[in-house]
């Protein structure tokens, strides 16, 4: 299907503004910058070139330097006063909302904070969307991981996994990612000799290593968050507030009770959350989830004894 009109015209106006603000550019640079082919950039420039004020002569058209264009350099001569337009309300919410999610997650570098501030200023109505933290990460840990990625070195850390097992690992960090409010590091784990997505609130005592990162980031992001099995919870209706927050959940009303069905990617996290609706819980399936709830509840009681 041909590219839609609005995105294409938005890019064409963007080319004009980019050239106005940052000076001439090669076709190849513009292609890389706007994420399209060089052929597409040439088509865009050629179309801009014949556009202008109605009924006007050649002086009323958007104009480029023809000699430079022959050498694949785009040099703007006359923009006819057009240029990039402000963010639409939907665009603003899409950009501010997503960036707000990582800032609220506590893992964002300084550039993300300043970008968010600039976006809100550019929009003038930055209150249209708000991102609320759910499980904010430890800022010091996030900083260590960011430093490691910037210097391209490994990180040594202690990880306590879903089964409470403590391991020491050396990881090659690739990307910090906030998924449904919780923060993870996508990395290559040298101990497992495979790619892993580790939850930040299970990482302790991370220190910057000296060895360089050698493995390329995995193509498949978020692979380890694939649900391991489907769970079904029957609970009193008043527990719905929690069940509704589970990723991908379907909640069905059955009179005084609700039945929630969802994919479980992390048994221990789900079990821990289910304790919060202990008095409302009626039935937990399958057995591995019920067993984990049982184990955690017993541990919580033992700690109080």
């Amino acid at each position: 299907m041909a590219e839609r009109t609005a995105p294409r015209v938005t890019r064409m106006l963007g080319i004009v503004t980019h050239l106005e603000r940052h000076g001439e550019a090669t076709v190849a640079d513009l292609a890389a910058h706007f994420g399209v082919s060089e052929q597409q950039i040439r088509k865009d420039v050629e179309l801009l070139w014949v556009s202008g004020v109605p009924g006007g002569g050649p002086q009323d058209l958007i104009d480029f330097d023809a000699w430079a264009f022959d050498d694949d350099v785009v040099r703007l001569v006359n923009s006819q006063g057009v240029g990039q337009v402000r963010l639409s309300p939907r665009e603003a919410v899409a950009l501010i909302g997503a960036l707000g999610v990582v800032v609220a997650g506590g893992v964002a570098p300084e550039a993300a904070h300043s970008a968010l501030a600039k976006l809100k200023e550019a929009v003038g109505d930055g209150d249209a969307v708000r991102s609320v933290p759910v499980h904010p990460a430890d800022p010091a840990l996030a900083q260590t991981l960011r430093d490691a990625m910037e210097r391209s070195v490994v990180v040594d850390l202690v990880y306590i996994d879903a089964n409470d097992a403590r391991t020491e690992r050396t990881i090659e960090p690739h990307r910090l990612v906030v998924v449904d409010g919780a923060t993870y590091i996508e990395c290559f784990c040298r101990r497992a000799n495979d790619y892993r997505t580790l939850r930040l609130d299970r990482i302790y005592g991370a220190t910057l290593g000296t060895q360089p990162i050698v493995m390329a980031p995995s193509e498949a992001s978020g692979f380890s968050l694939v649900p391991q099995f489907e769970a079904t919870i029957v609970a009193a209706r008043s527990a719905r507030w929690l069940l509704d927050t589970f990723p991908g959940v379907e909640v069905a009303d059955t009179g005084e009770e609700v039945t929630a069905t969802f994919g479980v990617s992390d048994v221990s996290v789900i079990a821990g959350q289910l304790l919060a609706i202990g008095p409302q819980l009626r039935r937990i399936q399958p057995a591995p989830l019920a067993a984990e709830v049982s184990r955690q509840a017993a541990a919580a009681l033992a700690a109080l004894a």
Binding site: T5, V9, R11, M12, I15, T17, H18, H33, F34, L47, L48, S51, P54, G81, G83, Q84, V85, R86, L87, S88, P89, E91, A94, L95, A98, V102, V107, A111, S114, A115, G124, V129, S131, V134, P136, V158, I160, R175, L176, V177, V179, E186, Y204, P247, A271, G272, L274, L275, I277, P279, R283, I284, A290, V293, Q296, A299, A300, L301, A303, L304
Partner: protein
């Protein structure tokens, strides 16, 4: 030959930006390259068909302008009857003179992944094109930051657009307290929290501020009533009305290396045996209770006793439900 729609739209933008006062539909049709100007020597039937074709084309182009975020002003000129004219104010439409550094642009780029597959996906991509216009070219660096949500609502886009026009929205909604009902809401703010999206606004029937979870909306969300029909009050940036609830302090024991989040906001108060002791301030029992429960024995409430009892009763109930489920499975 049919003119490229992009060319027509671009010419329309330039024409309306340069129009001194306004352009009427007739002027647009006659002069903007890409529209078919009225011709002489057509039968009335042919004329009407061409006229209708122009109207359809112009309505589509107005939609495209809206999609691009270009405000189209309608201007009525009293000396020329009631016919509506159009104009684009360059200063109103232009992107503010803010430049983004390459690092900032790279951070914003994560929006594309976050909204992928959602209604706002194309909006995110188009927004990123606009950011690129205001960013110096730089070598692309791999993105070391990302965000995803496992579910996003189609209602968000409609609500955001209605809010921008200060127009109320109407939808079917199921809630704990009120059951299933049609709600008419003045949207104030969209809230993203974990995998959930909410809209905060004034519920017109209740006359009060309410929060609606978008997943509980059935069917579509419709914008209703006139534009500019309400004002948005200054919104608190905290978690809502928390003024009335007093702050209390709980004493919590944490196993070494457990309860990172609690440690972050608590005050250390020594250690007893294998427990690190912390004092943590809280407003709501369930806040601390759920956190202690989720730590599954690596945390314990020392005081107040009411909070400890709350943790105990929740754990006992969960244990009973889990045991019953396991036995049930064994029998089945």
């Amino acid at each position: 030959m049919a003119v490229d729609p992009a060319e027509r739209l671009l010419n329309l933008i330039i024409a309306l930006t340069h129009a001194r006062v306004r352009m009427t539909r007739a002027q647009i049709r006659a002069s903007v390259a890409g529209y078919e100007a009225p011709q002489h020597g057509l039968t009335p039937e042919e004329s009407r068909r061409k006229e209708a074709a122009f109207e359809r084309m112009f309505e589509r182009d107005k939609d495209e302008l809206r999609r691009m975020g270009i405000p189209l002003r309608t201007v009525v000129d009293p000396t020329h009857g009631d016919e509506i004219g159009y104009k684009i104010d360059a200063s109103d439409a232009a992107m503010p003179a803010i430049d983004f550094t390459p690092a900032e642009a790279a951070a914003i780029a994560l929006a594309a992944e976050y909204w992928q597959g959602a209604t706002l996906g194309p909006d995110a991509n188009q927004g990123l094109t606009k950011i690129a216009s205001a960013t110096e070219a730089a070598p692309r660096t791999p993105l070391s930051l990302g965000a995803r949500a496992s579910s996003r609502s189609d209602a968000t886009a409609v609500i955001v657009e209605a809010r921008a026009r200060r127009q109320a929205v109407q939808f079917e909604y199921t809630s704990e307290r009120s059951g299933h009902a049609t709600r008419t809401v003045e949207p104030w703010q969209v809230v993203l929290r974990g995998s959930a999206e909410y809209v905060v606004g004034l519920d017109r029937d209740k006359g009060e501020k309410r929060t609606f979870r978008l997943r509980r909306i059935h069917g579509t969300v419709r914008a209703v009533g006139p534009e500019n029909s309400y004002e948005i009050p200054t919104l608190p940036h905290g978690r809502g009305q928390v003024e009335a609830v007093p702050i209390r302090t709980a004493r919590i024991g944490l196993r070494p290396e457990a309860g990172n989040a609690l440690r972050q906001r608590a005050v250390a108060a020594g250690s007893v045996g294998d427990w690190d002791i912390f004092d943590v301030e809280y407003r709501y029992d369930d806040q601390v209770r759920d956190e202690v429960l989720a730590l599954a024995g690596r945390a314990r409430v020392i005081s107040p006793e009411s909070l400890a009892a709350d943790v105990r009763s929740h754990a006992q109930a969960a244990l009973a439900a889990a045991s019953a489920s396991l036995e049930g499975d064994g029998r089945g």
